[in-house]
């Protein structure tokens, strides 16, 4: 296993598999209901013109999230 990588560390067009989600409460629920759960594959599509937030593809659709939120999602690069 490599060092812990967060979703925010992935570059555009890189893919990763969610390993762990450190969020709690509302944030965790929100991520779960959008399908960001351990084991799921994500692709970073782009970052906003000002570099934050980022847009990712997950479960067959697109989701935008801030980097501060993406930091809470640990991924393995694939």
């Amino acid at each position: 296993m490599t060092i812990a990588l967060s979703l925010s560390d992935l570059k555009t067009n890189e893919r990763g598999r969610i390993r762990l989600c450190r969020a709690r409460g509302l944030m965790k629920q929100k991520l779960i209901s959008m399908g960001l759960i351990p084991g799921v594959e994500v692709t970073v599509l782009r970052s906003a013109p000002l570099l934050d937030p980022i847009e990712i593809a997950v479960q067959n659709y697109q989701v935008a999230l801030r980097r501060s939120e993406a930091l809470l999602v640990e991924v393995d690069r694939i």
Binding site: C21, A23, R24, G25, L26, M27, K28, Q29, K30, L31, I32, S33, M34, G35, I37, P38, G39, V40, L45, R46, A48, P49, L50, L51, D52, P53, E55, Q59, N60, Y61, Q62, V63, A64, L65, R66, S68, E69, L72
Partner: protein, 811 residues
């Protein structure tokens, strides 16, 4: 009556289906305590009456966001007879996640596979029978946007309402089943809801459900800890994972993807729309178009609609008792005042309508979330949200707008703190009706510098709004609920004309209902405050004397003419005066020569004896006409003086004078105070009141000329007035909407008092600084501008302690 709830994930077309079923027959209700509307409508089908409820979209069924709370509490507490689960068929797998949770409720349900057109275009072949069998529900295909599938859906609703669910659908929760069973055994209370569903929700740690079934958290914590130690994953994530796995299974059994989906239109479009270099120019273009279409063209459109309103106004005025030279009956004064107040608002309807149409289009297309995506980084620094962009633009971030639709557009902002901050800062944007006031002062005092002054005025407001948003969110709003920025970027859709117009009309109607009623109430209050106690007796006697001698002079001049018999009593002269007035008003509206001819002949028919005087075609009538004009001018002068005296003596005038000792230090005398006070009903009246206070007798000079010549004010005064006007609270209509969107009279009060206090304070400071350092009016404005801009920059660069989402905080 059969109660039917429309539930589904955001943007799947629930409201479209709702409109398809209900037509225009609907009723929008504001759900108490939350920001989301719940729409209901009654539909009759096959002899039954169905009450449809359009719920807000939810991805899941927890109780974290407002929308979810509304949807969930409705489904739990109001126990609808049938649930219609609307699904985006082109996104079936994800949609099933919510469907499973709805199915577990164990209520009769219909699955509406909406957006079938999109699904077909993507080459998805959905086996409906298979899906219906697997989920044990009725499945219908619909295309809401085209009105397809209406009768199928109604039939399915009817059938569902007549069946009881014996065995609700079960998602297999594998290793969790034993835990679910264990909780089920402990549920003793009767809640009318499926036990299994309650147990699953309890296991997920849902507070509301735990309370409902009377279990405490500890029991659950033991179980979840146990599960965690065995499977090394949180229970809620595990449950979600199992649901997604089930959805996968159902999807693969029921759907065949005929063609390999290539790159979708959305992907291609986003590559341009969200491109690093193109995003801002495109955004700028969109904002410019919104502004141009609604504000600029809408304003032009009012040029055409105003004559209609004016004609209506003349008709209403014609019904009121005539004034008798200088004496105007109270009913008439009241009628005129109310008509003018209401028409001033109705005049803006074209602007609002276009605005609502444009917003509906942007919403339907799916550009709103993109806008938030692009700008979030900037707005977040000041405690706002990417989604604050549109409300601020509508409010008038570019030269002019209106706070009312601006505040109404804050509804979609997910983050409660940012939403409230937006609601409270939109009123600082430049309202369109402030523009005449600015132009009046600029034309009177800053003729050579109008351009630069207008630039200061139109851009400083955005800075002020950002500063205040930052201050508010780090103080009074600090403890407000915030939400993580995790937002689906929906696929682009082509909006339909029907859908857009329907929504625009609904919003317009809501606006008229809510806003106009309140404005009427305030107009009444203001009328009383400006009308009483009235002109002092001696003054009135003096004015009456003057009126009598003017009348006598007129009588003398018609003495030896052929018209004398028609003008031998006061009443007859009064009649001539009022014919003269209504003729002039109608004449203004007649554009072509043909219209004028027609007007003349109709007047001649109605008043064969007197009308020739107004036509003044021969020497005799011309002479009488001249005398009449003198009389009418004198009358108007006297009426103005009466009006002036009334305002000076009125309660509002007294108040204006009472606060003069304070406001004098900012350069405001009582006349300006009265103007500001009365402008609170509607911005337009600031200019009108100033105008009527300044109109001295019947001069032809415009108010700005009179003001400039008056000598009481210098450019510094004017600049201070501008500064105060920039900060003054918006009109009462905007305040009503603040109340509607913040659900609190306290916030409304705050929105009135805070800017007023701030405005007075800053006016005082800058007025005195200007006196101290001998600034010119323009310098005063420039220095104010530089201060505000610098503060904005400093706040933006300073790292705020709470700019992001706070981890672990839920309420």
């Amino acid at each position: 009556m059969i109660r039917v709830a429309l539930a589904g994930q955001p943007n799947c077309g629930k409201s479209t289906i709702f409109n398809m079923l209900a037509g225009v027959n609907q009723h929008v209700a504001n759900y108490p305590g939350v920001t989301v509307d719940k729409k209901t409508a009654n539909v009759t089908f096959g002899g039954d009456v169905y009450e449809l409820v359009d719920l807000p979209g939810t991805y899941s069924f927890s109780t974290f966001s407002l929308e979810e709370r509304v949807a969930k509490s409705f489904l739990l507490d109001e126990n609808p007879d049938v649930i219609v689960n609307v699904i985006d068929a082109s996104n079936l797998r994800r949609s099933l996640y919510l469907t499973f949770q709805l199915l577990e409720l164990g209520r009769p349900m219909v699955l509406a596979l909406n957006m079938m057109d999109v699904a077909e275009r993507r080459g998805l072949d959905i086996a409906m029978d298979k899906l219906a069998e697997m989920l044990n529900v009725r499945v219908v295909k619909t295309v809401g946007a085209r009105g397809r599938g209406k009768s199928d859906l109604l039939q399915a609703m009817q059938a569902a309402s007549r069946t009881e669910i014996a065995e609700p659908f079960r998602v297999e929760y594998a290793e969790l089943e034993t835990y679910i069973a264990r909780i089920e055994d402990r549920i003793t209370r009767q809640t009318g809801l499926a036990k299994r569903w309650l147990a699953i929700k309890a296991l997920e740690g849902d507070e509301v459900i735990l309370q409902k079934i009377g279990l405490d958290r500890e029991t659950i914590t033991d179980l979840t800890a146990d599960i965690h130690s065995r499977h090394d994953i949180d229970v809620d994530q595990m449950i979600a994972g199992l649901r997604y796995a089930s959805a996968d299974r159902v999807y693969h059994k029921c759907v065949t993807e005929k063609s390999v989906p290539g790159e979708t239109f959305t992907t291609k479009a986003d590559r341009v729309v969200l491109n690093r270099w193109l995003a801002f120019p495109i955004l700028g273009l969109v904002i410019y178009l919104v502004y141009q279409l609604s504000i600029v063209w809408g304003y032009k459109l009012t040029d055409h609609t105003w004559p209609l309103l004016a004609a209506l106004r003349n008709q209403i005025f014609a019904l009121l008792p005539r004034s008798q030279f200088i004496h105007t009956p109270l009913v008439t004064e009241f009628g005129v005042w109310m008509t003018n107040s209401i028409l001033a608002l109705l005049n803006y309807i074209p602007i609002f309508f276009i605005l609502f149409v444009v917003i509906a289009i942007l919403e339907d297309v799916g550009y709103m979330p993109r806008m938030a995506f692009i700008l979030d980084r900037i707005f977040r620094k000041y405690g706002l949200h990417g989604q604050s962009t549109l409300p601020l633009v509508l409010g008038g971030a570019l030269v002019g707008g209106c706070a009312v639709p601006g505040i109404m557009a804050t509804k979609g902002i997910a983050d409660e703190r940012a939403r409230l901050a937006t609601v409270l800062t939109v009123p600082y944007m430049n309202c369109l009706a402030k523009v005449p006031f600015y132009t009046l002062l600029l034309a009177a005092f800053f003729k050579p510098h109008m351009g630069i002054m207008m630039f200061f005025i139109s851009t400083v407001t955005l800075f002020i709004a950002l500063i205040l948003a930052r201050l508010l969110t780090s103080t009074v709003l600090k403890s407000r609920e915030t939400a993580p920025f995790v937002m689906e970027m929906p696929t682009y859709h082509l909006p339909t004309i029907k859908g857009v117009l329907l929504r625009a009309f609904q919003r317009l109607w809501l606006y008229i209902k809510k806003v106009v009623t309140i404005v009427v109430a305030v107009a009444v209050v203001l009328f009383v405050l400006l009308q009483y106690p009235g002109v002092p007796r001696e003054k009135m006697a003096e004015l009456r004397q003057q009126a009598d001698s003017a009348m006598a002079r007129f009588s003398a001049s018609v003495q030896d003419t052929a018209y004398q018999p028609h003008l031998d009593t006061r009443e007859k002269i009064y009649q001539l005066l009022s014919i003269n007035e209504s003729y002039r008003a109608d004449r203004l509206l007649a554009r072509s020569q043909a219209a004028v001819d027609q007007l003349n002949s109709s007047y001649l028919e109605r008043y064969p004896e007197l009308f020739p005087i107004l036509l003044a075609a021969d020497p005799e009538t011309r002479q009488i006409n001249r005398a009449l004009r003198t009389l009418s001018n004198t009358g108007r002068g006297l009426q103005l003086e009466i009006r002036n005296e009334k305002i000076v003596n009125s309660y509002l005038g007294t108040l204006g004078r009472a606060i003069e000792p304070v406001t004098r230090h900012a350069g405001f005398d009582w006349r300006i105070n009265v103007a500001f006070l009365s402008s609170f009903a509607a911005r337009e009246s600031a200019v009108a009141t100033l105008g009527s206070i300044y109109e001295q007798g019947a001069t032809d000079a415009s108010p700005e000329q009179v003001m400039a010549r008056d000598g009481a004010y210098t450019p510094i005064h004017a600049a201070t007035m501008l500064l105060f006007m920039l900060l003054t609270p918006p009109c009462i209509a905007a305040m009503v909407v603040v109340k509607l969107q913040s659900h609190s009279y306290l916030w409304m009060l705050f929105a009135v008092l805070f800017p007023t206090a701030l405005g007075i304070m800053l006016s005082l400071i800058f007025f005195n600084l200007a006196l101290q350092f001998n600034w010119s009016g323009v310098e005063l404005m420039r220095n104010f501008y530089l201060c505000v801009a610098a503060l904005t920059l400093v706040l933006g660069l300073k790292k705020s302690s709470h700019s992001g989402w706070q981890v672990g905080k839920t309420h």
